[in-house]
Symmetry: C2
Subunit: 345 residues, 2 copies
């Protein structure tokens, strides 16, 4: 690999009159990582070409829903095999009018019998409707041996901000009643990671108790495109690819005119004092690496016990790709162990 | 900022016959990050143009030493002011024939009176001789309120691998005798982070007790250029800039023909079972981000309690830039709190 020569120049910054330096980077070829500590399965995922579907820049909930339904087909097809391999049953129910899927291990360890996880799925607030949204919940139920309630929150065009959060809160309240706060944990990835944080802000505002722990997977914690890895990992993250891609368009559709800097959409701007112990997960190529580490730092500054795990070479949310991937088993195992450590029996 | 269009192609991989995908990235302009949660001082450091001194590719210890002495002048000039502002005294001594600087707070909290930190400085195994190597130790003594012994280990051309490690072990043995293992912690950054890990491997091999905790700053844990951020952050890290720069050349000089994959030079390849609790620190733009998170993961897999803090936008070791920088006070405060939590009084 030849050395890259750099040309840097100073320019007057864009924000606040501060002097900012832009860095001109030359074109380059980036090899896929191939260290011994990345599994062959994950190496293949990392080596995938960039997501070719980065460009559906939906303008309406109706447009987004067409894509969401199309994308859900493959996800739903995976579910029977997943449930069987992981020894789970899943039922569709409603809780306080909110659609949920209840995922239950056929054998539940004694320590987890009274414990309950609330799962809020990802998908930029518009993707993974219905059963398609349960896969992360299924993986956690199966790999962590917990009972999981996965919230099938309303999405555009059925409803817009704050419907997803309201639905999640309805299920959270029910979980508090069923299991008690010390036996409840909440988790999710991407929009689900943001929703997990938003739920804590909302619970604080409502005077509800915090759960025992939260799992915050690479959260969409800042919808205003602040976060250095939106730039440094542009085109390198092969899932989200660009900060100006589908996920940004989807968030604008969900917000439906609401201020994107509202902490209930960009929870990095909320007050995290009093949050429960949190475990955060991301990867070095993740477009949301910065927003994960910014959230981690904000939690630490608020005195919250917070663990951060960053996986080598992984793009956005790739740790959750499947039960047959060593890094998925490892990451979910670590999150489950964190929950078990902090939850009452 | 216009969207970047990507051209990706598959190629037969270089290693092990695996199919690897290289990613062709176009030229681009990277703005300096300017989020509200980065201090103005750190924003200015992050916005610095890339280190223009990336190219002295030393071939001998003598060549490296000329650069080291030149670079030490500015560092040494900072020391009197640092000691005064932080309320410290510093004396040059020897321990078992090894040169050290003993850094002592003028007022030592009762909890820290019997505690002792061993500091191994960074500088790619060839830079920061003499007093120039004490700055990180001074910052920790002053910001963490600990007594610190900073090891002025022999460097090329005075001596080569494993002299640095041998000198550090001599001081570590003495610290064990003085304070007892439960009151000792070891820390360092970059080559000092690698040396900290190497010391633990060596202590295990020698049957010496582990210290109470270690602080592993962005360690040069893999001298074989494995680690994805060597590529993803190439030209973005404004300190190290390139994996083929001065630090790589320096490590080869230090190794002096020894296998770079030896765990005592690349500790990522060592067995970390039984290591003490560790706190790791890096930044999103760090060329060694990957080797920090790989080390973190390896520690976790070995059952070691390990905290990882990743600072937004920072390049290699920028968290340690100065006592007047909020991120330095924060990072050293977090490391000090971790030590205090794990050390006996």
């Amino acid at each position: 690999m030849t050395r890259i020569f750099l040309f840097a120049f100073l320019s007057l910054g864009l924000a606040g009159g501060a002097l900012a330096a832009d860095l001109s980077l030359p074109a380059r070829v980036l090899p896929a990582p191939h260290s011994d500590d990345i599994s062959p399965q994950m190496q293949a995922i990392i080596a995938n070409p960039p997501n070719p579907n980065v460009n559906p820049l939906w303008k309406t909930g109706e447009e987004a829903r067409v894509s969401a339904d199309a994308g859900a087909v493959a996800a739903v097809q995976r579910i029977p095999g997943l449930l069987e391999r992981l020894g789970l049953t899943m039922t569709a129910e409603t809780i306080g009018g909110v659609r949920v899927h209840v995922i239950t291990p056929k054998t539940l360890p004694a320590a987890n019998r009274a414990r309950l996880l609330v799962h809020v799925h990802g998908g930029c607030y518009v993707l993974s409707p219905g059963e398609a949204g349960t896969i992360e919940g299924i993986l956690m139920a199966g790999l962590g041996h917990f009972k999981v309630i996965s919230v099938d929150y309303r999405m555009p065009p059925e409803a817009y901000f704050p419907a997803a959060l309201d639905d999640a809160m309805t299920v959270y309240r029910a979980a508090l009643k069923t299991a008690g706060p010390k036996r409840v944990a909440v988790f999710g990835t991407s929009a689900g990671g943001a929703l997990t944080l938003e739920m804590m802000l909302k619970a604080k505002a409502l005077g509800l108790p915090m759960p025992a722990a939260i799992g915050v997977g690479t959260p969409m914690a800042d919808a205003t495109k602040v976060g250095d890895s939106f730039y440094t990992n542009e085109g390198i993250d092969n899932v989200l690819v660009s900060r100006d891609g589908f996920c940004d368009a989807a968030t604008v559709v969900y917000a439906h005119g609401h201020d994107l800097k509202d902490p209930l959409i960009s929870p990095i701007y909320g007050d995290m004092h009093g949050f429960p112990p949190a475990i955060l997960t991301t990867g070095t190529r993740d477009l949301l690496l910065s927003n994960t580490v910014r959230t981690h730092r904000k939690l630490r500054r608020a005195g919250v016990e917070a663990d951060l795990n960053v996986y080598e070479g992984e793009s956005h949310a790739q740790y959750g790709r499947g039960d047959n991937i060593p890094e998925t088993r490892e990451a979910f195992g670590e999150i489950a162990a964190f929950f078990a450590k902090h939850m009452a029996r």
